[in-house]
Symmetry: C2
Subunit: 109 residues, 2 copies
């Protein structure tokens, strides 16, 4: 069974999260479920990876956090994407296309 490359994902976890946040503000658990379902169970981000990405990106100004209490009484930390985050996302998409192009010159199908 082939699995996805965590070294490649490494460079795109932030991008994946930003993509989801650009649809709507969200929080850790929800993001993780969405990644899993959108990838059809092919990628399940680790909690530690996810939350450290949130911290990094908030520090970089790509997202901002705010607390909210859900209907069920649970307190959650939500994240919203910023303008800088959207810009970064668009740049990463360009970078991806270039990188993919280069790598595929060395891949045999």
């Amino acid at each position: 069974m082939v699995e996805i490359s965590s070294d490649v994902i490494r460079g795109y976890n932030d991008t994946i999260i930003l993509y989801l946040l650009s649809e709507a503000p969200s929080y850790g658990y929800e993001i993780s479920k969405k990644i899993r379902s959108l990838s059809e169970d092919k990628y399940m981000i680790k909690e530690t990876t996810l939350y450290s990405a949130f911290n990094r990106m908030e520090k970089n100004g790509y997202i901002v956090s705010y607390s909210e209490t859900a209907e069920n009484g649970k307190k959650r930390t939500y994240y919203r994407i910023t303008e800088a985050g959207s810009k970064y996302y668009r740049e990463k998409c360009e970078e991806w296309n270039l990188t993919k192009d280069v790598i595929e010159r060395f891949i045999r199908r």
Copy 2:
């Protein structure tokens, strides 16, 4: 100017090198030139990255080294791909296709 992602490349330097070695045995300097030209100057692997990849892959049994003195009197360390190396390369190609697929679900064009 967009540049390629060294975090993505991170997972595929070994694969790139194995691809080139599967065409013919080679040595550091030549491999580095070939990567540069095949990628049309978009990727220039760092010497340290390249030689540490050689060491890692020899330890893993994906390549074997041998010394040879070139016409110009220079001594070089050549590398040849092994069966295990070819197998690893083919697996990485499969992994790449899967990973690419997943990532592209989160990329907007």
